[in-house]
């Protein structure tokens, strides 16, 4: 009888980050229980320590590419693929988690539920573990499990404060949409298993390479599975939950959902499509997909729909959080185009986009949170003349929004530039023009906020809004990269170029 030793200890060296997150999750729960009602200020710092240690393990892993938890009976494919691509996304997830913990320390909303800090940080760690498994899992069962782990944590976190009706509404809507989406995805997985007899993506690829496929069942099952992924990255037409949940959830969690959850969803989608359907990779980096499903037209359609819906709905929003929600839908649309190119260049563009998107989107949410801490609202009308009350915050928000539009000299320009280069290189000119027109539309609603902040006189003369030193440091930590990467972008481009390799391809 084979010892389970083999399955655990063979792969534990590749699973150090995941194990670290799990251990810190247990530590957070235990410390929360031991501390009782007082001394909960220590919890975020334990969380930060855990994040730094996990980040260290991830950086240690760069360059390795191997299967963890190998299934010896099906051609030595494993449940988890450890590769540079996955590690890049894990780093993005950890980086955003660090920012979210820092946000939570200064968020009034989170402070109000001080007695439930233990659950809050434990759930964030649970979500992080799920996302780290999402970006690296190569087996449909593990994909489903990790998506469920992320979803369960985020349902609770979206309605965590329970202070207002819209908070509970966000959680309820999220759970209904999420439950339906994951149910549909599970149905698709079961159909795929029914025709393939395996749940491993690499094994499915081997079967497909041999030409034994049944198009109809395969197409239906992949569309159903895409529903689950599309829900996570809030691509149209699975985006309906996004505005309500983003508006109702605590701002720190909204920011987290818009970056980390979306990054994990994208990594999963890219891995799923590339590993399952690839035939060969050409010399020029273009992927030759198996001709079962026309993924290219499908993704182009979805992404144009997503970005257009996102941008045009954002035009009418009066709530800044809701506007940023629609803008995040639009950004998901741009990034889907990067995948639709089906080349290494396109994936590189997505990687660069995500790293920059992390700073600019988190930054925008952070400023909105700091202002909401003081004025208790995110309505755009309340922002009238706020530049006179707090010049630093207003200017930073302006920079983040300009970067989200994609104007130079901010980093957002570089992100869009590489995406358009990939599109033009693939001779998808028409699509590139549509994306460009969308960017022009987005300029309107981003600039509208600037107009309210700088050009409109405040209705009531309020007192100046000041922020603490710690908050200023966090703000600068996001503001500086926007300019730095906008002008000196070679390092992130090189970093992304070295991280496009998926295990086996």
């Amino acid at each position: 009888m084979e010892a389970p030793l083999k399955y655990i200890f063979d792969s534990i060296q590749y699973l150090k980050p995941e194990v670290a997150v799990s251990i810190f999750l247990a530590i957070l729960v235990t410390v929360d229980l031991v501390l009782g009602k007082k001394n909960k200020q220590v919890l975020p710092y334990i969380a930060l320590a855990g994040l730094v240690i996990t980040g260290y393990f991830v950086t240690q892993q760069f360059g390795t590419s191997a299967f963890a938890s190998v299934q010896h009976n099906i051609g030595n494919f494993g449940l988890i693929a450890v590769d540079s691509f996955g590690n890049y996304f894990k780093l993005i997830i950890i980086l955003s988690s660090i920012f979210i913990v820092l946000f939570s320390i200064s968020s009034i909303e989170i402070k109000q539920v001080f007695d439930r800090h233990g659950e809050y940080y434990s759930l964030i760690f649970g979500m992080m573990l799920g996302m780290m498994l999402m970006v690296s899992s190569a087996d449909l069962i593990l994909i489903y499990l990790s998506i469920e782990l992320v979803s369960l944590s985020s349902y609770v976190l979206a309605g965590f404060t329970k202070q207002s009706l819209r908070n509970s509404e966000a959680s309820l809507k999220y759970i209904i949409y999420g439950g339906t989406a994951s149910g549909i995805m599970l149905f698709g997985i079961s159909i795929l298993y029914g025709i393939m007899g395996t749940t491993n993506l690499y094994a499915i690829n081997t079967i497909l390479q041999n030409g034994a496929f049944q198009p109809l069942a395969l197409i239906i099952s992949c569309i159903l599975i895409f529903t689950g992924f599309g829900f996570k990255i809030s691509a149209a037409p699975f985006h309906f939950w996004t505005p309500d949940v983003y508006e109702g959830a605590p701002i720190a969690i909204t920011a987290y959902l818009s970056i980390a959850s979306k990054a994990a969803g994208f990594a999963l989608l890219i891995r799923f499509i590339k590993v399952t359907f690839i035939q060969t990779i050409g010399e020029d980096g273009y992927w030759q997909l198996l001709g079962v499903i026309d993924w290219k037209s499908f993704l182009i359609m979805i992404s144009i729909l997503t970005m257009t819906l996102g941008n045009f709905s954002a035009l009418w929003q009066d709530n800044l959080k809701r506007m940023l929600a629609y803008s995040s839908i639009a950004h998901a649309g741009y990034m889907l185009l990067g995948l639709a190119v089906f080349s290494d260049q396109g994936v590189m563009a997505i990687l660069i986009y995500f790293l920059i998107y992390l700073f600019m989107n988190l930054g925008a949410f952070f400023v909105v949170m700091l202002i909401a801490n003081k004025i208790g609202s995110e309505e755009i009308d309340e922002y009238d003349g706020i530049a006179y009350k707090t010049p630093l915050l207003a200017v930073s928000l302006a920079v983040f929004l300009i970067s989200l539009t994609g104007l130079p000299p901010t980093a957002g320009f570089i992100a869009k530039l590489y995406l358009f280069i990939a599109l033009v290189d693939a001779k998808m000119i028409a699509v590139a023009i549509i994306a460009l027109l969308n960017t022009v539309v987005s300029l309107y609603y981003y600039i509208r906020v600037l107009k309210h902040m700088f050009l409109t006189k405040p209705k009531v003369e309020g007192e100046r809004i000041t922020i603490g030193i710690a908050d200023t440091v966090v703000l600068l930590a996001m503001l500086i990269p926007i300019f730095l990467f906008g002008l000196y972008f070679t390092p992130i481009v090189n970093f992304a170029k070295n991280s496009i390799a998926l295990l086996g391809f």
Binding site: M1, A3, P4, L5, A26, V29, L33, G36
Partner: protein, 146 residues
């Protein structure tokens, strides 16, 4: 083709059919002459007022929720419990980690007071100050008189 459990299900199905058939047969055969008195909830005694559907204590829900999660955990432990002896210590360790997580959840519930039922808080009767004053004064005067 039937497994052992399958046979049990057939038994259950037959049992249900038996009851259903018996009830339907009785319904067909028996005379049906309802009167107003017969249809009352209690033929003798007070007639019920209002709806019997009342709001239950929210604690029921929390306990049921916790029960459900532990239910799933126990179900997952059954296959492990059947085989772990064959794998020696590591086999035990695999389940022990799982049980440890389960125990952590249990400790959490315990510490946060989710397992405690809302007890009634009887308020002990307190004498009002003015009453106590007057009560005390009267005996004093009586003592002086005596």
């Amino acid at each position: 083709m039937l497994t052992e459990f399958g046979k049990i299900f057939v038994f259950i199905l037959i049992a249900i059919l038996f009851v259903v058939v018996a009830l339907i047969a009785a319904k067909i055969i028996r005379p049906a002459r309802p009167t107003h008195e017969k249809l009352l909830t209690y033929e003798c005694g007070e007639n019920p007022e209002g709806s019997p559907w009342v709001k239950f204590n929210i604690r029921f829900y929390v306990v049921a929720l916790i029960f459900l999660i532990f239910d799933v955990e126990v179900v997952l432990l059954i296959p492990w419990a059947l085989v772990y002896q064959d794998y020696g210590f590591t086999g035990f360790a695999v389940g022990a980690i799982f049980l440890l997580l389960l125990g952590l959840g249990m400790a959490y519930e315990w510490r946060k007071g989710d397992l405690e039922w809302d007890r009634p808080h009887p308020i002990p009767p307190v004498l009002k100050k003015s009453e106590t004053d007057s009560n005390l004064k009267i005996p004093k005067e009586e003592i002086e008189v005596v």
